[in-house]
Amino acid sequence: MSLELISVMGDAGVPANTPAPSLAPEQLLEIYRVMVLTRLLDDRAMKLQRQGRIGFYVPALGQEASHIGTAAALTADDWVFPSYRDPGIALLRGVGVVELLHQCYGNSTDHTLGRQMPVHYSFKKIRLVSISSPIGTQIAQAAGAAMAMKIRKEPHVAITYFGDGSTSSNDFHAGLNFAGVFAAPCIFVCENNGWAISVPLEGQTASATMAAKAEAYGMPGVRVDGNDVLAVYAATHEAVERARVGHGPTLIETITFRMGGHSSSDDASRYRDPKVCEIWAKRDPIDRFKAWLEGKKLLKVAQEQAIRDRCEQELKEAIDAAEKVGPPAVSTMFDDVYATRTTQQDEQWAELKDALKRGVVAKGHHGEFPL
C-alpha cells in the first residue's frame, strides 16, 4: 500500500505529486472564505471565552484545510459525523456563523437549547449529526449510516471525522471493521494533529502511520498533507467516487497540527515545546491556499480584503445577536429526553416550577431563568 503523502501545492520536503482538482474559481473562493471565517470565529470565540462570555471553546486553529477541504468534496445529500474540532463543515454547508454562536452561548435561540457545551453542534438540515464528547462514538455510527445507504441503494456517502487519539477507541476498530465487512460507503477522516490533549502521537500508536491501519480492515488507506486544502479535497473526492459506485470505505489520514491548546481549559506550554508550532506556522493552511490562489491569479489583494471584511462583519453581527438572547426556559430541560414526558418528569417539573415561582432556588449563571 502506498503511504506517500498526497500533495498538490508541495511544501518544504514534500514534493507536489497530485494535480490540482478541477474546481471552478467560485468554488475555490468559497472554500477560502469558509477557511477564513472559521479562523476568525476561532479567534473571536477564544476571546469571548477568556472574557467569560461563553463557557468553553475548542479551537480548530491550523486544521481549517483538513476539515473544510474534505467536506468540500461531498454533496449536500451526504451525511457528516464530525468531531468537536470541525466547525467549518457546518459553515461550508450553509449554516450561518450566528447559529454556531447561539449554540456557544447556550441561549434560547440555540435550537438545541443550551443543553450541550459549546461547539457540540447538531444540524439536521445539513445532515450534520449531533456531536458528542465521548471519543470515537461517531465512527461506528457513520459506518451504520453508510450501511443504511447501501441497504436503501441510495448513492450517498457518510463521512466521519476524528483525531489521532480517537484511533485508540473501541469504536474506531468497530466502525472500520463494520464498514469493511459490509463494504459500506463510508469515509473515515483521521485528523492527525499530533496530539491528544498532552499525549503525542507516539504515545497513541506504535504503527508507522494511521493510514496503515486501513489495511487490517480491508480498505484503502491514504495519507495526505492536511494543510494543503487541495490535496485534502483530491483525496476525499477520490474516496467518495469509489464509495458511490459500491467500492466501499476509505481511511484518510490528514497530517496536520493542533496549533492551539486542546481547548480553552488547556495550557499546552505545560507539556509541549512551543517551537514545534513555529515550524507548523510556516505551513499554515490559509496562507498556503492564499499564495496558491494568488499565483493562479484567482485572488487579488483587494478581493482578499473584501472577503475578510465581510467575515468580520458577519461575525460582529452574529456575536451581537447571540449576546442579546436570554437563556432557555427551565421547562425545556425536560423536553426531548423522550418523545413524551414520563409521569415522573411531569411531577419533577411541577415541583421545580413551584419552587422557582416561590423563589426557593438560587439564581442561575445568567441571572433569573424564565420558567
Binding site: N107, S265, M333, Q348
Partner: protein
C-alpha cells in the same frame, strides 16, 4: 498540619503510597507529563518515572483492562478515568471482569485495583463532564464504591482504597476539587472504608448525602438552624459497602430523613437508602422519606445551576418533613 484542596490531598495520597509501596503504579490519559487534567497526579511522573506513571493511549477499556492484568500479576494499579462520563467503554472490564474475578476463580485471582474518576457537576461541563454514575456501579457485587466529600477524607479513603484487597471505584466530586480547603494529616492517614461520617449532629432531621452534596446540605442546615430546625448530616462516604448502622441510628433519633444526590432521581442510590430505612426504621419515622436530586434528564449545560440540588431545594424538603 498542611492545608490542602481535594486535588492536593489526592496528589499527596498518591505520592505517599507510591513512596511506600513500589508495586503501586498509575495509568490513564494525560496523567503523566501533564499531571492529569485536574492536576491530581502533578509531579508524580517526574518523581517516579514513566514505568510507574503511564500516559496511556485513549482507551478506557484498555486502561481498566490493563490495570486488571497488572493487578493479577502482582502490581497495585491506580487507574484514572479522566471524567466518569467517559467510563462507559470500560464498563465491561469493571463490571464483568474486575468485580467478578475473585468469585469466578474461587478466590485464586484477585484484582486489588483502584479506579479514580471525577464525578458530578459544578464546572459547567454539560452532559459529558458532569455525570454522577455511582448507582450503576453500586449495583455490581464485587466492586466497592467510595465517594469522599472533603480533602482529608479524600486522602484517607484513597490510601484505604489502594490498600484494599478488592477493586475500588473511587469517585472524586469536582464540585469540591478546588473549592474546599482544610487541614490534612501528613504522611500516613487512613480512613476506613465502610464507615459513614456524622458531619453535624442534630435532633430534628437527618440529611444523608455524599460527594459534592454534603457541602450543599451543610449550607441548607445552617439556614435551617436560623429557623430553629436542627439538622443532622451524614456523609455516606462509601456507597458500597454502606454503613447502615450509622444511618439507621441517626434516623431513629431524628425520625426524619432527607436524602440528597446529584444523579437523576429515578434509579439513584438514594432509593436504596430509602428502602433500607423503610425496611429497618419504619416504626421510628415521623414523616415520609424525601429525596432531593437531579432530574430525570441528561445533565444540562446552561441550566446546570437549576439541575443541581442546592440549599434552597434541600431546605424546602426539610420544612416539608418537619411540618408533616
Amino acid at each position: 498540619m498542611p492545608v490542602m484542596t481535594m486535588v492536593e490531598a489526592i496528589n499527596d495520597a498518591l505520592r505517599v503510597e507510591m513512596r511506600r509501596d513500589p508495586r503501586v503504579v498509575l495509568l490513564g490519559e494525560d496523567v503523566g507529563v501533564k499531571g492529569g487534567v485536574f492536576g491530581c497526579s502533578a509531579g508524580l511522573w517526574k518523581e517516579f518515572g514513566g514505568d510507574r506513571v503511564m500516559d496511556t493511549p485513549l482507551s478506557e477499556s484498555g486502561i481498566v483492562g490493563a490495570a486488571i492484568g497488572m493487578a493479577l500479576y502482582g502490581l497495585v494499579p491506580v487507574a484514572e478515568i479522566q471524567f466518569s462520563d467517559f467510563i462507559y467503554p470500560a464498563f465491561d472490564q469493571i463490571v464483568s471482569e474486575a468485580a467478578k474475578m475473585r468469585y469466578r476463580s474461587g478466590g485464586e485471582y484477585t484484582v486489588p485495583m483502584t479506579i479514580r474518576t471525577p464525578i458530578g457537576g459544578g464546572i459547567r461541563g454539560g452532559h459529558y463532564h458532569s455525570q454522577s454514575p455511582e448507582a450503576y456501579f453500586a449495583h455490581t457485587p464485587g466492586l466497592k464504591v467510595v465517594v469522599p466529600s472533603t480533602p482529608s477524607d479524600a486522602k484517607g479513603l484513597l490510601l484505604a482504597s489502594i490498600r484494599d484487597p478488592d477493586p475500588v471505584l473511587f469517585m472524586e466530586p469536582k464540585l469540591v476539587y478546588r473549592t474546599l480547603k482544610e487541614e490534612v494529616p501528613e504522611g500516613e492517614h487512613v480512613v476506613e472504608i465502610g464507615k459513614a461520617r456524622v458531619v453535624r449532629s442534630g435532633k430534628d432531621v437527618t440529611l444523608i448525602a455524599w460527594g459534592g452534596m454534603v457541602g450543599m446540605c451543610e449550607k441548607a442546615a445552617a439556614k435551617c438552624a436560623e429557623e430553629g430546625i436542627d439538622c443532622e448530616i451524614i456523609d455516606v462516604r462509601t456507597i458500597v459497602p454502606l454503613d447502615e448502622a450509622t444511618i439507621l441510628e441517626s434516623v431513629k433519633k431524628t425520625g426524619r430523613a432527607v436524602i440528597v444526590y446529584e444523579a437523576p432521581k429515578t434509579g439513584g442510590f438514594g432509593g436504596e437508602i430509602s428502602a433500607i430505612l423503610a425496611e429497618k426504621a419504619i416504626e421510628w419515622l415521623e414523616a415520609p422519606i424525601l429525596r432531593v436530586t437531579g432530574f430525570d434528564t441528561p445533565f444540562p449545560y446552561t441550566l446546570e445551576s437549576v439541575y443541581l440540588p442546592e440549599p434552597g431545594r434541600i431546605r424546602e424538603a426539610v420544612l416539608k418533613v418537619v411540618r408533616f
